[in-house]
């Protein structure tokens, strides 16, 4: 490779990678959390975890939940009823408020409400992953651009490392100099997970581009069609116990299970949608009173359905989802180490030019601040959000408003703190360590000890503790370095 090409590639890799990396870290982190959206919802609403053994869905429960759905539709709220599944063993009478899904959880055996207040839940991270909670179409435009940035950075990185790709595939030297160590970590994760990240990134870009195209050219819907984005429905459909029972029986005959399926208004009728977990490709087909059976359909009806299956992995088993989550966290390590390398090389560049301009030094300071707010502020805000769902809401605020304020407020404070105070890294690491390691204690204190889903709570507590311990070990390393 000629030196000129190498310089150009490095320039692209650094200056596309750094701004895109700030957002990509958020996308990878929230994407990893989104793999376990129903489980996070369960952790945040411990009363929905029920007691062991978990009760199964009964006809009484289904009819009562159907009655609640009818009441909501009659009042003009476009709600839908999600049926219990092993991942979320309660009915969810949800509606979409433009950002997240919210609504009461109902017992699977009685259909009675289980919890007294809504929480932001797992869908908060899904929306943050999909559109960064920005209004349409800006969120989609930003995530698409950032996704393209990921692909460009991956390709330029691969090109730069091509000659050493195979020989240095597993190379990591923990005792080398700091910059070399970070570069080894960046290359170790980057080269090993390059194909996985490329496929995830590409599928994400395609899905977001399709959304943008749909926004520009909305698809034609028949008259009376309602969508989840509508706050109010025009004419509520008829929904009697007989309709619910017959649709459920038809669903069981058609799909073998209705767990994770949902009842939602489609046109002027109520429809039972099949579970997303049945097929690789997303097949949103509804059984309605007028169409009680479904015509045979191809395995992957559209390109969109294929990419949804590839990117969301809703069909996948628990182990595959864990590994998918781990791939997202590997993405966080790659991006985080890349951001650190960028800052180190900028710092070196300033150090080698003693007469650096004030503007350049201020720019360097702002790069450091946004990196700290991204890599430490986001985990800190996430842990704080988890805590806020379990602690009482102050004043008379709506719980969701309070939790979202805690998340975004703390994240903004992290940025401000990094701008103002020099040792912000150590202080924010200490906060992450405290919140992460104490999550287990908070969990045990704020939920019934005997629960139907001990593994769910254990797994979330363990992940938070790992995050806290990782922050603590980095903090101790920094202290040792300062002392030396």
């Amino acid at each position: 490779m000629s030196p000129r090409l190498r310089t150009a590639l490095r320039l692209f890799h650094r200056w596309i990678g750094f701004p895109a990396g700030l957002f990509l870290f958020v996308l990878c982190f929230t994407g990893s959390l989104a793999c376990f959206s129903p489980e996070i919802q369960g952790w945040m609403q411990p009363r929905t975890a029920l007691h062991s053994p978990l009760p199964a869905m009964t006809r009484t429960g289904l009819l009562k939940a159907g009655q609640n759905l009818k009441t909501q539709l009659d009042t003009g709220i476009f709600a839908f009823l999600k049926l219990p599944s092993p991942r979320d063993p309660v009915f969810r009478l949800w509606h979409y408020d433009g950002r997240i899904f919210l609504g009461p959880a109902l017992a699977p055996d009685t259909g009675l409400p289980l919890t007294d207040h809504d929480v932001t839940g797992g869908t908060f991270f899904v929306t943050l992953h999909a559109s960064l909670h920005l209004p349409n179409p800006w969120g989609q435009i930003l995530t698409t651009t950032v996704g393209i940035g990921l692909l460009v950075t991956l390709l330029t990185g691969l090109w730069l490392q091509l000659r050493r790709f195979l020989p240095d595939l597993l190379l990591f030297r923990p005792r080398a100099a700091s910059q070399r160590r970070w570069l080894d970590l960046h290359l170790l994760c980057g080269t090993l997970s390059l194909p996985v990240l490329f496929i995830i990134g590409l599928s994400g870009v395609i899905l977001q581009s399709q959304k943008l195209i749909h926004m520009m050219n909305p698809p034609h819907h028949p008259a009376g069609h309602a969508s989840r984005h509508q706050a109010h429905t025009a004419i509520p459909p008829s929904l009697s116990p007989a309709i619910i029972s017959s649709l459920t029986e038809n669903g069981l005959r058609q799909w073998g299970t209705v767990a994770d399926g949902f009842f939602m208004q489609t046109g002027r009728e109520i429809g039972l949608y099949g579970p997303d977990t049945l097929h690789f490709c997303l097949q949103r087909q509804a059984l309605t009173p007028s169409h009680p059976t479904l015509p045979p359909r191809s395995v992957c009806p559209t390109v969109h359905s294929f990419f949804v299956g590839l990117h969301n992995l809703r069909w996948a088993g628990l182990a595959t989802r864990w590994f998918y989550c781990f791939s997202g966290l590997m993405g966080c390590i790659i991006i985080g180490s890349g951001l650190v390398l960028f800052l180190q090389s900028e710092r070196n560049s300033i150090a080698h030019h003693p007469v650096s301009s004030t503007i350049r030094q201020r720019l360097q300071r702002s790069h450091e601040a946004v990196t700290i707010a991204t890599t430490l502020g986001l985990p800190l805000a996430t842990l704080a959000l988890f805590w806020s769902t379990r602690l009482p809401t102050p004043f008379s605020l709506s719980p969701i408003l309070w939790e979202e304020s805690v998340f975004f407020g703390l994240w903004s404070l992290s940025l401000l703190h990094a701008f103002i105070i020099r040792p912000a890294t150590c202080q924010q690491l200490a906060l992450v360590a405290v919140l992460g390691t104490c999550t287990t204690g908070l969990d045990l204190l704020t939920r019934p000890f005997h629960t139907g889903r001990p593994l769910l709570f254990g797994a979330v507590d363990l992940l938070a503790a790992c995050l806290g311990l990782a922050a603590l070990s980095v903090l101790l390393h920094l202290f040792r370095k300062q002392a030396a």
Partner: protein, 106 residues
Amino acid sequence: MIILFLMGLWAAVWLLHLNRLPTYRRQNPCHLPPAGTLQTLLRPALPAAGLTGACLLEGLDGLFLWVFTAPATGFLLGLTLPHLPHSPAPKGRNLQNHRGTPRYLP
């Protein structure tokens, strides 16, 4: 069970890959016997066997597990291997001065 099988298989593939590298390139310790015909044959055969086995046992889940376990195993191995004791360098030869040794930062 399938995860252990796949991770073991990928660990073997990565170790065979390391063993194939010339000594001056092998920065991470690897104590397998010197690379021979069997190792050359096993290196492409093991992933293929793993893919077939995973797909037969777990279907589509198996395919994705096969994909995801490769970087995960490599990452864990890459972090663990440098902490294991290195094999002694060949006598009378300074590896850092070998003409093929890549130039790294200090």
